[in-house]
């Protein structure tokens, strides 16, 4: 079983606690995403799994074996770096062959393995080029081929798509996911981009300040966020969070509609919404404004699909509503999810 497990892993740099007690267990063959803002500890955690940092406390296990004392080369892992880290002085062929040579694979076997890995990513025609002669997308494929060629037990990827331009990123994401499904190797992927995370992950680990806030499928994270941080981090635009009496109300912009467009909304809560700005995004409209009345001037956003054609003018107040079962409640001090409350 090539699973990765962390038990109570902590990492402290001087005064800074980068990772503060993380317990994780991947499933064999899953695509696990570590998601969080910069400084949340996701990269540090990945580097500990890779072996570049030693945990201050806790144990790391790969395939059931404790690997704390093993150097990176002995952990049967492969890693793709944000900058791809291709060896600039070697051809693509030599780049891909390097791990095989370094691990002592028989000379005779190397060419066929390199060609196999190269053909998987369609870079067979680039084998004699040097990295500086390749485009961003080609470099990424070389990095992946180099990672794959050793048939590792675990793939680690550190924001490998952030150096590609937006156009390329979407197609690269697609290819990456298909590829991982096909080879079925356990993969841990670090990113700060929640769209990437939602699109790629079987499960997502949301982290902040060195601590795991929630682990779950994209659906879990989105629909049932464990705290206000997760609620605000995932989703674009983020979930609206308004303070009300002694708790926090949360609702997604796409659930926030003008009352007169929602049927059977008599029972649903009414919000008086003063619109300040409307953005036309083609498929949607984003309505920016503040809530008046009970909710004392808190800023919220509504997302109306183009199919909802009701006129919304800036500077006017409207009655908006949210379906009752889409409202989430959070404790005001701990920010954790609590049970349904009357509004």
């Amino acid at each position: 079983m090539a699973t990765v497990e962390t038990r109570g892993v902590k990492k402290i740099f001087g005064d800074v606690v980068a990772v503060n007690g993380v317990d994780l267990l991947t499933r064999d063959g899953e695509f696990l995403v570590l998601l969080g803002p910069s400084g949340c500890g996701k990269s540090t955690l990945l580097r500990m799994i890779a072996g570049f940092e030693q945990p201050t406390e806790g144990e790391l296990l790969i395939g059931g074996t404790v690997v704390n004392d093993l150097p990176p080369r002995a952990r049967k892992i492969a890693m793709v770096f944000q900058s791809y880290a291709l060896y600039p002085h070697m051809t693509v062929y030599k780049n891909i062959a390097f791990p095989l040579k370094a691990q002592g694979i028989a000379r005779a076997l190397i060419p066929q393995k390199v060609e196999w890995a190269a053909s998987l990513f369609g870079i067979g025609h680039l084998l004699e080029r040097k990295p500086r002669e390749l485009s961003g997308g080609e470099r990424q494929r070389v990095a992946l081929a180099r990672a794959l060629v050793r048939e590792p037990a675990v793939f680690l990827l550190d924001e490998p798509l952030s150096n590609l331009d937006a156009q390329l990123r979407a197609s690269a994401r697609d290819e990456l996911q298909q590829f991982q499904r096909r080879i079925g190797t356990t993969t841990i992927y670090v990113t700060h981009d929640q769209v990437e995370a939602m699109g790629l992950g079987d499960r997502i680990v949301v982290m902040k300040s060195g601590v795991v806030r929630q682990i779950g499928t994209p659906q879990d994270i989105y629909d049932e966020p464990a705290d206000t941080f997760v609620a605000g981090f995932v989703g674009s635009p983020p979930m609206n969070l308004v303070r009300h009496r002694d708790y926090i109300l949360g609702f997604r912009p796409e659930d926030f509609h003008p009352k007169n467009t929602v049927s059977g909304s008599a029972k649903a809560p009414t919000f008086k919404f003063n619109v300040t700005r409307v953005e036309y995004l083609g498929a949607d409209r984003l309505i920016y404004g503040t809530l008046i009345g009970d909710f004392s001037d808190q800023k919220v956003i509504a997302r109306l699909p183009a199919t909802v054609t009701v006129v919304i003018e800036p500077g006017t107040a409207y009655d908006f509503t949210v379906p009752e079962n889409e409202v989430r409640f959070f404790d005001i001090s701990t920010e954790l999810r609590i049970r349904h409350r009357p509004i």
Binding site: D28, G63, P71
Partner: protein
């Protein structure tokens, strides 16, 4: 990415390498000292130990011939401080150092600024500018010895041609003040290239955006230079200045080859005086004592720079 994939079965894939535990070459704790150890040891043996020895000599009565190595306290220092030779040397060390560095600072900035624009032949000019620094010090100095020669000086010939002087011309190395000026000139000739190149690197490291912003904000030439460019190259200028001062304060070669400290010891500096006393004169102890006077001077300079450098966030 459309062809089918064949990967080895899961059991083979997940078996970890049986060998390769952490060995010494992995432990960064050990590797660092291991790699840097030889260099540190070498420096310690060839710089640290002799330095301590020099300290000892200065308070002993060691001579070149070997002889006794008795402790004599601060006698060497007190003997030497009062002598006019020493005081001239001390004065010269400081004057040569300061004057040459100030001029180098001004000229290197002027030169580096002039080199900012691109123009044809820039590479050739850069090569010519580097020549004084790459040529061995003694070699360059000998060339100047020939230029300053009392009879055949080409410099005098040119000045005569320009009508600026009559007759024989100046004895560049024969009169105390002219000799000092000549020495300072050769110091500048030697160090200006390096200072300029270092400054050029500093100028080059300022992003063009900042210059553009200043232009948009309406800064004139001098304001632009003093308030935008200068503060940004300050760290690197300080490094260049530090090197320059150390070199000027400790240089023997130029004086040895140009004036031998003459005429009549008027152009001696501490370093050359130490040499003549210790090696030529055989009195190692007194030579060491003189040389040691340099050390506090240099230490003060270096510490001063480290403090300023720290403030301007260099190292």
């Amino acid at each position: 990415m459309k062809s089918p994939v064949s990967i080895a079965p899961a059991t083979q894939r997940s078996r970890l390498h049986p060998k390769s535990r952490f060995s010494v070459v992995d432990q960064e704790r050990w590797l660092g000292p291991l790699l840097i150890g030889p260099a540190v040891l070498y420096i310690f043996l060839l710089v640290g130990v002799p330095f301590v020895m020099a300290l000892y000599y200065s308070v002993s009565n060691t001579t070149m011939g070997g002889g006794t190595m008795g402790f004599v306290g601060l006698r060497n220092f007190t003997n030497v401080i009062g002598t006019p030779k020493f005081q001239t040397a001390l004065k010269n060390t400081i004057t040569f150092g300061l004057i040459s560095q100030v001029l180098i600072l001004l000229l290197s900035n002027a030169l580096a600024l002039s080199l900012q624009a691109n123009f044809p032949g820039k590479r050739l000019i850069r090569f010519l500018i580097l020549l004084p620094w790459v040529a061995p010090i003694s070699i360059g100095t000998i060339a100047w010895l020939w230029i300053f020669d009392s009879t055949y000086s080409v410099l005098n010939w040119m000045l005569r041609l320009a009508g600026l002087i009559q007759g024989q011309g100046y004895m560049w190395l024969g009169l105390p003040h002219l000799a000092m000026g000549s020495i300072i000139a050769v110091h500048i000739w030697r160090q200006l290239p390096l200072a300029t190149v270092i400054l050029l690197a500093g100028y080059g490291s300022i992003p063009q955006d900042i210059h553009d912003a200043a232009a948009v904000d309406g800064a004139g030439f001098w304001r632009h230079f003093f308030q935008v460019t200068l503060p940004l190259i300050l760290p690197i200028s300080l490094v260049a200045l530090l090197f320059g001062l150390i070199f000027t304060f400790t240089d023997i070669v130029i004086i040895y080859n140009l004036t031998r400290g003459g005429p009549f010891d008027t152009t001696q500096v501490l370093a050359s005086l130490a040499f003549y006393t210790g090696i030529a004169g055989g009195d190692l102890a007194e030579g060491a004592a003189i040389a040691l006077f340099l050390f506090p001077l240099l230490l003060a300079v270096a510490l001063g720079f480290l403090v300023i450098a720290h403030r301007t966030e260099v190292t």
